[in-house]
């Protein structure tokens, strides 16, 4: 029986010619990843095993969640990870000043190639399917064990085939695609499954769009999301210095998919996910009556350079509404510098926005933009669960960078076409 892309990668890493859905496998991993919240407890689990690291070049440690440290407890967690990195001579430890939000930083650092298998102690590790890798989130115990053994166990998943058709309008981004998809299937619509993307619409999407889409596969309950390799992928990998041998992975012609969904890119409208689930999607144009207090543009979902360019398209020559705090967070130091060199940061600051050093900060209610009771935020982040960005009685509305920036300008939820026209 034919295999999906995901099944092929899992089989290859388990040394098996073929695998079947539902089977349990032990697979080799090409990279393990942890951050300042999950890294320290993963290190504690690793230490209990009492073995050396499986490969000092294949462990990435990124202090990004509460980093630069927001308080003494966070600093202690960061120090725990830093001490471990020094003790084991870990190649890919990224210190403040060179770090970034892990899921933007790791692929941009050339650490992921097509066909590779990555696990990370962070649920948004599924982001790297954008470069045709299998990547998924695990907990700290799984991660600690894999740092010692270089392998982990998987149940071979079923998959949903998502066919993208049509031409993508310039007011639509990857965020609108994935929010629309989650709205269609629900937050557990892809539970235990892969989301595999196909169709001529794939070529319409930038790599940034693809990263955003795979990033939020988890918000549909998915194990991973995965795109095919095309010229844009090859160009990206070249730019990121990936020179090692890799092989693109494509599904067999007779691969079995649990179901097939079609998304017509030309028919999409900018959407916003209302509190408190990412599946509560509504057209942005219907949000005029929802006044907001804050806008956040950033995160592992939408803090890439292309996202900042989208925000600048709206904010150039315009002002953030006086009632709104707009916080923009480039995802990595490199993106921050590029935005500075190309004048984007000037546009943001002239518009009255705050620009922060890279951090996950507000996305998970850490710091750098926490909401008070009764406050509302339009955010380009990935989750709008109750209390996610602060007080349990605050609200988060998920949107694309264009929609978020347009909403910052008007002070209420706004379809970006309203501002751009």
């Amino acid at each position: 029986m034919g295999m999906t892309r995901t099944q092929k990668i899992l089989a290859r890493h388990a040394g098996r010619p073929e695998v079947e859905e539902g089977e349990l496998l032990v697979s080799q991993v090409d990279l393990t990843l942890a951050n300042d919240i999950t890294g320290p407890p993963a290190i504690d689990e690793f230490d209990k095993i009492g073995r050396p690291v499986f490969n000092k070049d294949k462990i990435a440690l990124v202090p990004d969640h509460f980093s630069p440290p927001k308080d003494i407890k966070s600093a202690t967690l960061c120090k725990h990870m830093r001490d471990f990195a020094r003790k084991h001579n870990i190649t890919n430890y990224f210190e403040v000043g060179r770090m970034g939000i892990e899921h933007a930083l790791v692929p941009d650092s050339g650490l992921v190639a097509p066909g590779e298998l990555v696990i990370g102690a962070d649920s948004h590790t599924c982001t790297y399917g954008a470069v045709n890798a299998f990547s998924t989130g695990v907990g700290q115990t799984d991660l600690g064990a894999a740092m010692a053994s270089g392998q982990t166990w998987f149940k071979v998943p079923k998959a949903i085939k998502v066919v993208l058709t049509g031409k993508k309008p310039d007011y639509i981004s990857g965020k609108d695609v994935i929010l629309t998809l989650i709205g269609m299937i629900g937050v557990d619509g892809a539970l235990y499954q892969s989301l595999e993307f196909f169709g001529e619409g794939v070529g319409e999407l930038s790599m940034a769009d693809r990263f955003t889409i795979c990033n939020m596969a988890i918000e549909a309950g998915g194990k991973n999301g995965i795109f095919p390799v095309d010229d844009k992928t090859r160009e990206y990998l070249k730019e990121r210095g990936v020179t090692r041998h890799w092989e693109a992975v494509e599904a067999d012609e007779d691969a079995v998919y649990d179901r097939t969904l079609t998304i017509e890119l030309d028919k999409l409208v900018p959407v916003v996910a209302y509190p408190h689930l990412p599946e509560n999607t509504h057209p942005a144009a219907e949000g005029k009556d929802i006044a907001i207090d804050q806008v956040v543009i950033g995160s592992c979902t939408n803090g890439r350079y292309e996202d900042l360019v989208s925000a600048a398209r709206i904010l150039k020559g315009r002002k953030v509404d006086p009632r709104v705090r707009c916080i923009i967070i480039p995802a990595t130091q490199e993106i921050y510098k590029r935005a500075m060199d190309n004048g984007l940061l000037n546009i943001f600051i002239d518009a009255g926005a705050a620009v922060s050093t890279p951090t996950c900060g507000p996305c998970l209610g850490g710091y750098m933009g926490i909401l008070a009771a009764g406050e509302r935020c339009v955010s380009t982040t990935n989750r709008n669960f109750r209390g996610r960005m602060g007080h349990v009685d605050s609200e988060v509305y998920l949107a694309s960078p264009l929609t978020a920036a347009a909403s910052a300008v008007t002070g209420h939820i706004t379809d970006p076409r309203e501002v751009l026209k």
């Binding site: 999950t38 209990k48 927001k70």
Partner: protein, 160 residues
């Protein structure tokens, strides 16, 4: 006999343990905030041996293992749900917290019910209703991890 704490669909990791507390590295201290944003009565009143019963997609969201850990720290004997988010499910197995996925049958168990779980037979007895729900036994691979006392011991055992 276990008291049931009943919750609905999509109980996410942000309400199980809000991220604002994740700078706390002592799990006992952290567990004082378990379920705080969905149910402020849980922390002060949950008793060792109580169980949680929920709807679909329990534990969706973050990969934070802090979520099953704080529930385990409060002495919860097992979680029964219609379905679990996959990372939470995996994390619970890895730390040795029993999780039973029983689909729509979970709807038959309500708050305040008295429940006995027989893990060997894979049976859930809702004692006050005289009801028995049959479940699938855990897969052999998962049982091996549980028997070893969690994944870390299992990996340790594999090298001996």
């Amino acid at each position: 006999m276990s008291k049931v704490w009943r919750y609905g669909d999509h109980v996410d990791t942000d309400v199980i343990i809000p991220a604002r507390y994740l700078n706390i590295s002592d799990f006992k201290e952290l567990s004082e905030h378990a379920m705080e944003d969905i149910d402020t009565t849980f922390g002060p009143n949950v008793q060792p041996g109580d169980i949680i019963v929920a709807g679909r997609n329990f534990g969706c969201g973050s990969s934070r293992e802090h979520a099953p850990i704080v529930i385990q720290q409060k002495g919860v004997a097992c979680i029964i749900a219609e379905s679990f988010a996959r990372i939470f499910y995996r994390n619970a197995i890895n730390i040795g917290l029993p999780v039973l996925e029983i689909g729509e049958e979970a709807k038959k168990i309500q708050a305040g019910d008295q429940v006995d779980v027989d893990f060997d037979k894979g049976e859930i007895h809702v004692v006050n209703k005289g009801l028995t729900i049959k479940t699938h036994p855990l897969p052999a691979f998962v049982r091996k991890i549980a028997e070893a006392g969690g994944l870390v011991n299992y990996v340790k055992g594999a090298q001996d």
